[in-house]
Symmetry: C2
Subunit: 220 residues, 2 copies
DNA sequence: GGCCTTATTTTGATTAGTCAAAATAAATCT
DNA sequence: AGATTTATTTTGACTAATCAAAATAAGGCC
C-alpha cells in the first residue's frame, strides 16, 4: 500500500505536470508538498525505485503509467470528497480543501464508488476542478481566464484554480463561482487591473494575477 | 495533534477498560492494537509522559481525563462514520469497521458535527454500539446476552459486541440484528449450545461463546 | 572560456513507530 | 520456600520521513 506521503508526492507531480508530460522540477515539487528540496530528492529516488516515477537527475520527475494511475485515484478521491462535503454536508467551499487533503488517504475504493453514485457522478468539484473518471481519464480542457478573455462580452466562470481559503472566501463573497456569468468591462495591463461586472451587479476590481486564477468560457 | 498511532492506543485503552476504571494489561493492549508487547510498553511510556495515560509499571495502564477525552472523540468518530457508511452509503455492516478504522483519524471535528446532524444524532451505531455524546458521555448500560438471558421469553437484540466481518455476516444472514426479537428455546451448558427462535422463524443453534456476543433486553 | 548564481543532490542527524530477542519481575505450582 | 511458567520491560536494530547545511552540477553572463 502506498503511504500517505507517497500519495501526496504522486498527486502533486500529477498536478504540476498539468496535462503535458514534461518534467516537474524538484523545487516546484518540494514546495508543493511543503518539504525542503533535499527531502523531495530523497523521496523521488525512492519512488523511482518503486517504478512510480521516472527521475532524470538534475532535471526533474515525471510519473510512470503506474504512478499516474495511483495519482489519479488520489485526485479523484480528493475532488469527490470535496464535492460531498459541499453538496451533502453543506460545508464552506473555502474549507473543504484542507479536509479533503486528509480524507483522500483514508477512503477505500468502495467508499469512493458509493460517494460517486450518491453525488450523481459529478464531472467537476465545487471549484470547477475536473474529477478524474473511474477509468483514469482527466479532462484537460483549456480555458481563458478573466485576465485573458474577451472584454465586453458575457463569460461564464467555470473554475477557480486556487485552493487558499482566503481567495475562495473572497470569490464567494463577490459571487465569483462556477456558473456565474460576468463581463470584463476594462483591462488595464500597465496598472495590472481588471474590472468586471456581474450581470445586474455593481463593478468589481481585481488584480491581473487574481483574475488569472478564474477560468471562463464564452456565455452562449 | 495526536498521531494515528496515539489515537489508536488511546481508543483501545478506553475499549478495554470497559466502563470500569481498572488497569488495562499490557498484553491485552498490545494484542488489541496488534503490536508486540514491547512496543506497547514503549508507546505507553511515551503517552504517560504526555499526560494521556497513567502507567503502573508491571501492572497496566489507565486513561487520564485528557486521554479519555481524546479517546472518546476518536470513538465517536468511529461509530458515527460506521453509521454514515451503513445508513447513507448503504454499505455492508460487516465491512464498515475496517473502513472506520481509517476514517476515524481523518475527519475533523466539524465534519463530525455535520455527520452527526445529517444522521439525526443517533445514539448507537449499526451494531448497537453506543456513540459517545459530543460532551463525552458514553452509555455503559449493562445488558444480558443470549448466553445469559431468560429463556422462553421474547428478548430484543440491542447490540453485537464483535467486529469481525465473519461474525457480522453470519449474524446478518440469520437476521440477528439490533431490533430483532428472538426467544431462547434451549440452553445446554455442558454441550455449550444455545438454541433460539425468531418469532415466526425456524430454530437456530449457536455456541455459548457466540451467544455471549449478542446483547439483549426483555422485549416489552 | 571562465565566473557566478541558482537548483539539486549528498551527508549526517533526528523523530515516530515498530520488531526480535534477551533480561527481569511477578505469579503460580509443587 | 524454591522452582517454573508467564507477563512485562529493556536493549539493539530497522524503516519511513523529515531537516540543516555542505557539496556539486547546470545554466546564464561577461
Ligand atoms: Mn493529502
Ligand atoms: Mn477543488
Ligand atoms: Mn484506527
Ligand atoms: Mn460498531
Amino acid at each position: 500500500m502506498a503511504t500517505i506521503a507517497v500519495e501526496n508526492y504522486l498527486k502533486h507531480v500529477l498536478l504540476l505536470s498539468a496535462g503535458s508530460d514534461d518534467l516537474v522540477s524538484m523545487g516546484a515539487l518540494a514546495s508543493a508538498v511543503a518539504v525542503v528540496p533535499g527531502t523531495a530528492t530523497t523521496m523521488v529516488k525512492a519512488l523511482a525505485d518503486e517504478g512510480l516515477v521516472e527521475h532524470q537527475p538534475r532535471h526533474g520527475v515525471r510519473l510512470t503509467p503506474e504512478g499516474r494511475r495511483l495519482a489519479l485515484n488520489v485526485l479523484r478521491k480528493h475532488r469527490l470528497v470535496e464535492t460531498f462535503l459541499v453538496n451533502v454536508l453543506k460545508m464552506d467551499w473555502a474549507k473543504v480543501h484542507a479536509e479533503a487533503e486528509q480524507l483522500e488517504h483514508a477512503i477505500s475504493d468502495e467508499v469512493l464508488d458509493r460517494l460517486d453514485a450518491l453525488l450523481g457522478h459529478p464531472q467537476t468539484d465545487p471549484h470547477g476542478d475536473p474529477i478524474p473518471s473511474r477509468q483514469g481519464k482527466l479532462s484537460s480542457q483549456v480555458y481563458a481566464t478573466l485576465a485573458t478573455c474577451v472584454t465586453d462580452r458575457g463569460v461564464r466562470i467555470v473554475r477557480i484554480t486556487e485552493q487558499s481559503p482566503e481567495f475562495l472566501q473572497f470569490a464567494e463573497q463577490n459571487g465569483l463561482q462556477p456558473g456565474t456569468t460576468v463581463r470584463v468591462t476594462d483591462r488595464n495591463v500597465p496598472a495590472g487591473l481588471v474590472t468586471l461586472k456581474k450581470s445586474g451587479g455593481r463593478a468589481l476590481a481585481l488584480s491581473i494575477v487574481a483574475a488569472g486564477k478564474i477560468l471562463v468560457e464564452p456565455a452562449r
